[in-house]
């Protein structure tokens, strides 16, 4: 899948990860990012958090994320950072924040990690807010040659806004 960000020339590319964490698991978009030219999505996948014992589930998730970044030679990971919810903070937010910590540690042990806020994506990419891009079907139809789920779009936006 290609994300057509810029069609001019292509330099050496790096493997970058865009990571969106919820209480249920991790959505990950893995992309080859050249200095210029279209970004190629290598993988758009989700890693489910195991049910049951939470310590063991976190340990498994740590291993999966660390191994993935290490084996694939990932240079940089962009993780959507925790944010205060205007609608109130429930257990789901706290669970997601716990898992986000695991993801930060796991990826940080294998590559450079950057925490990216929604506001900074909105500032650094295009002229609209991140949520508007995520919901805009025509934007994704026009700029990708495959289908992306909503969570994956957010993860991809983290990469787009960081280049």
């Amino acid at each position: 899948m290609n994300l057509l960000a810029d069609l001019d020339g292509a330099g050496m590319s790096e493997r970058w990860l865009g990571v969106q964490v919820s209480g249920e698991g991790v959505i990950m978009v893995d992309a080859e990012v050249p200095k210029d030219g279209p970004i190629t999505i290598v993988l758009d996948d989700s890693f489910k958090l195991a049910k049951g014992d939470r310590a063991r589930a976190f340990c498994t998730m740590y291993s999966r994320l660390h191994d993935y970044a290490k084996e694939k030679g990932t240079k940089r990971a962009f993780i959507k950072e925790s944010a205060v919810s205007k609608g109130g903070m429930g257990k789901a937010h706290l669970s997601a924040a716990e898992l986000r910590g695991v993801a930060i540690a796991a990826l940080g042990s294998a590559c450079e990690v950057n925490l990216v806020s929604k506001a900074s994506v909105s500032r650094n990419f295009g002229d609209r807010k991140m949520d508007e891009y995520v919901k805009d079907e025509s934007f994704w139809k026009e700029n990708t040659d495959g289908k992306m789920r909503s969570g994956s779009r957010e993860a991809a936006m983290l990469i787009l806004a960081s280049r």
Binding site: F47, K48, L49, A50, G52, T60, S63, D67, E71, K72
Partner: protein, 344 residues
């Protein structure tokens, strides 16, 4: 160059690996280690001994390239001054292989789940590095002192992959149908072998041996649909193992990520301890302040079963479910299976 003398001390024999004996060792740097010993046999042709030495060295190289926390680590290789022995010095997995536990009976599903998760990480790392294991079986899964499972015995590991395939090898009962057909293995056939291994760990050796060996059946296809299951093995486990034993390698569940996702979905499932004396079968689990016990036993030519909740302290014994009098074996099995599924 100065000749160096190793300070490695060799201790008691631990077991047999694919190509040689394994002994306990004491290494000045690593402490207790496992030492796989190759020695020239008294009447061995020198050329054959050279070939065996080369195989050991290759195993050492493979293990070094496969370094991962769920793969047994190789520290170094020591050759004797007289050149009649080569020692592969490896990480010691204190609890040994799973062969003995497998032979003793079915492992609890919780333990098999943890083992499967660990081994998937190790196998995934191997495959990411374009290496195959080709000999996954209970005897080649080792447990360290902390209960972490690791892939070991790399006598058959190869990175000599041409178009993703390597020559036929491995434990005959764990070979996928396409390996019988083409004589070639790949990462998908490693997952077949892992599926077979998980099935065996969940059922134990006696149960596994009560059915014809896979080597006689796998070639005819549809092997996964002919497996006999213990009643407490959940639908989720059965689906996972059947998916790993899909005859079509391209439809097979054969990536570590997909297997880990399936394992994640069943991680919190209830675990039953199972024991059988060959006639009466018992399952037990603790539930808060009660012990749930399911007993299946013969009644003449028929069978009876009951699921009973016992208080661990004060309280009364309750029958949760039971067969309606003596029933035939198939009816009893169906009833128990339905009870276990209702507990999930």
């Amino acid at each position: 160059m100065t000749d160096l003398v190793s300070a490695l001390q060799i201790g008691k024999k631990l077991g047999n690996g694919h190509f040689g004996e394994v002994h306990l060792g004491e290494d000045p740097v690593h402490g207790p280690v496992a030492v796989k010993m190759y020695r020239a046999l008294p009447d061995e042709d020198p050329a054959k001994w050279e070939a065996r030495k080369a195989a050991l060295l290759q195993e050492g190289v493979n293990l070094r390239k496969a370094k991962h926390r769920h793969v047994v680590q190789v520290h170094h290789i020591v050759s004797s001054q007289t050149d009649d022995a080569v020692h592969l010095v490896m990480e010691l997995c204190e609890r040994g292989s799973l062969q003995d536990r497998y032979e003793a009976g079915p492992l609890p599903t919780r333990d098999v789940h943890a083992i499967a998760t660990d081994i998937c990480h190790g196998l995934g790392a191997l495959h990411d590095r374009e290496m195959l294991h080709r000999d996954i079986k209970p005897g080649n899964l080792l447990m360290d002192g902390n209960g972490v499972a690791k892939l070991g015995d790399f006598g058959l590991v190869t990175d000599d992959i041409i178009l993703g395939y390597a020559d036929i090898a491995g434990y005959f009962d764990h070979l996928a149908p396409e390996v019988f057909e083409t004589g070639q293995t790949n990462s998908r056939s490693d997952f077949w072998a892992l599926g077979m291994t998980l099935y065996r760990l969940l059922h134990g050796d006696a149960w596994y041996r009560s059915s014809p060996a896979p080597r006689y059946l796998v070639r005819d296809l549809g092997y996964a649909n002919r497996l006999a299951w213990l009643p407490h093995i959940s639908s989720r486990w059965r689906r996972l193992i059947r998916a790993m034993l899909n005859d079509d390698p391209h439809a097979r569940l054969a990536t570590h990520g997909k297997v880990l996702d399936s394992l994640a979905a069943m991680a919190g499932d209830i675990c039953w301890e199972y024991e059988s004396d060959g006639t009466t079968s018992k399952w037990r689990r603790n539930a808060k302040d009660r012990l749930i016990e399911v007993i299946l036993e013969p009644a003449g030519k028929k069978w009876v079963w009951a699921a009973i909740s016992h208080p661990l302290a004060r309280g009364v014994k309750r029958t949760l479910e039971a067969s309606k009098g003596a029933v035939n074996k198939a009816t009893a099995d169906r009833g128990i299976r339905a009870f276990f599924e209702s507990c999930l």
